[in-house]
């Protein structure tokens, strides 16, 4: 699904963001990208949706070499990729429903499909009751769930999440990660760049660690149980620390 071959990325100002990074991510995998600030996580994500091109090396997405992709083909690449950012990027003058529908309208979906699929997707992320709310009437977690709904409403093959929990508290973060895991269970490949060590440690999935642009660790986790020991421990820790809540 995703292949990186000796990918280097040097920004025009001379910053080396990635240095000979190689990795293969298969269909249906769930992968964390971790590393200190400035390690190149966001750069890696931007390379996948062809916001940036590698300076050298190759990135393949679904079999296509992105360096050789014609500019006019980029939108069609992106229709296979759902993207979630730390700052949600919802349109402030549109309701939750409209924000999600926007992603469908943009690729020319029929009003009938939109009317059918948007509520179903909002239901999936648990936002049915907030369909008519504007982003500034939503909590951070709700906004991120709306963004997630927008990312998956077109049923992409890949979901990219760049620090999706960066602005959220641990409990809310956990909810978002649960949603991503659920999307992944449906067969969608998920790549999540994150700082949140506790999440990575609790959810036993593959971790690609970057440091100063180099992949320093790529650990496959064998335990693919839905709720591994670590996950359970973290969840219990959370419920203990927020025991005042129902």
């Amino acid at each position: 699904m995703l292949q990186f071959y000796d990918v280097c990325k040097t920004y025009p100002n001379g910053t080396v963001a990635l240095n000979k990074a190689s990795a293969t991510i298969s269909k249906g995998e769930f992968v964390f990208i971790v590393g200190p600030s400035g390690a190149g996580k966001s750069t890696l994500v931007r390379l996948i949706y062809r916001e940036e091109l590698p300076t050298s090396g190759y990135v393949f997405v679904n079999g296509a070499n992105l360096s050789r992709l014609k500019p006019r083909a980029i939108p069609y690449l992106r229709r296979n990729i759902g993207i979630v950012f730390q700052d949600y990027k919802l349109l402030p003058r549109q309701t939750t429903h409209e924000n999600v529908a926007f992603a469908m309208r943009v690729i020319g979906a029929t009003p009938r499909d939109i009317a059918r699929r948007v509520p179903a997707t909002l239901d999936l992320v648990g936002l049915s009751d907030k369909a008519d709310a504007y982003p500034d009437e939503l909590s951070g977690g709700e906004q991120q769930r709306a963004a997630l709904a927008r990312a998956i409403v077109n049923r992409p093959l890949i979901v990219l999440a760049d620090e999706p929990t960066g602005n959220l508290d641990p409990v809310t973060s956990w909810g978002i990660v649960q949603l991503l895991l659920e999307i992944n269970r449906g067969g969608t490949t998920v790549v999540m760049a994150t700082h949140a060590k506790t999440i990575v440690d609790s959810v036993r999935r593959r971790v690609i660690a970057l440091d100063r642009g180099c992949i320093v660790r790529d650990k496959q986790r064998s335990d693919y149980g839905d709720l591994g020991g670590g996950e359970r421990a973290w969840a219990q820790g959370l419920s203990a620390s927020s025991s005042g809540k129902p």
Binding site: I74, L91, V106
Partner: protein, 295 residues
């Protein structure tokens, strides 16, 4: 582009124009002003052109003939002159005809000519018409060498000078029109850029959810086109009224100056202005949306 997207883009463009009301008004006004100036220029150009061809068609060379030529000699001479480069027509005027014409021109003062019928001082002549002012000199020079031609007259120096001025005006007008179009383009593209900046968030989202560049472009293109058409319509209406007023003014005060009639000129001008306005608007918005679509 399907009908559904079309109406969607149209609605978005209208909404955006309404939202940036003052800015939209300002740029439509600018388009109107520059297109109005353009229209005035075009109208002037059309009339100057008309005037020029009227003058040019009146440019003639007069060949005064020797008194002793018989009709065969005159016919031979006519054929020779007609074969000169640039000559369109040659007409024989006998001295009796010339006198009649003169008498007519003098009108009430024609009694001055009383009694000269017997000893007509005028000469037989050939009126030579040319393709244009550029040929007059060569034709005159060529005809002067022919046997039987006593004298060559072409007193249209002034006309030629007027024609030279007209040519200069035409060239200057073209340059000015070019500048005007560029300025209008700049203004429209700036207005549309403001809209684009206001909606840059939306463009970012459109891009990462997979909108094609044309999908992003159309609403802005429509917006620019609307502003252009709006300005053009205003300019056209104003130019139309001004031209009607000018034509009637010229007609009543200086009727010897030939003017091009209002219709169908007004229609043609109106459609041209709409075309130019719409094109400038569309081009202006495409230009300013371009940098936001760069990958």
């Amino acid at each position: 582009m399907g009908a559904r997207s079309f109406s969607l883009f149209l609605r978005e463009a209208l909404t955006s124009i309404r939202r940036n009301g003052l800015m939209s008004l300002a740029s439509a006004t600018t388009v109107a002003v520059s297109l109005f100036i353009l229209a005035v220029f075009l109208l002037t150009a059309v009339n100057v052109d008309n005037l020029a061809s009227t003058i040019e068609s009146g440019l003639e060379v007069r060949l005064y003939l020797a008194a002793d030529l018989d009709s065969t000699a005159v016919d031979g001479l006519k054929a020779q002159v007609a074969s000169l480069d640039g000559v369109t027509e040659v007409r024989y005027v006998s001295k009796a005809e010339a006198l009649a014409t003169l008498r007519q021109q003098l009108g009430q003062d024609s009694d001055l000519l009383e009694g000269i019928d017997q000893m007509n001082p005028l000469r037989d002549s050939l009126r030579v018409f040319t393709k244009g002012s550029a040929w007059v000199d060569a034709v005159a020079a060529g005809a002067a060498t022919l046997i039987g031609v006593e004298d060559v007259g072409y007193t249209h120096d002034l006309a030629q000078r007027i024609l030279r001025v007209i040519t200069a005006i035409r060239l200057g007008g073209l340059a000015l029109i070019g500048l005007m179009v560029l300025a209008t383009l700049f203004v429209v593209s700036n207005t549309v850029r403001l809209t684009i900046i206001a909606r840059s968030e939306e463009i970012t989202v459109m891009r990462f959810v997979g909108a094609t560049n044309w999908f992003i472009r159309w609403p802005f293109l429509f917006e620019g086109m609307f502003l252009g058409l709006l300005g053009a319509a205003a300019a056209g209406l104003a130019a139309w009224q001004v031209y009607i007023w000018a034509v009637s003014g010229i007609y009543t005060n200086v009727s010897f100056i030939p003017v091009v009639p209002v219709y169908p000129l007004a229609w043609r001008l109106g459609f041209s202005l709409l075309g130019v306005g719409g094109l400038i608007g569309a081009l202006g918005s495409v230009l300013s949306v371009r940098r936001f679509l760069r990958v």
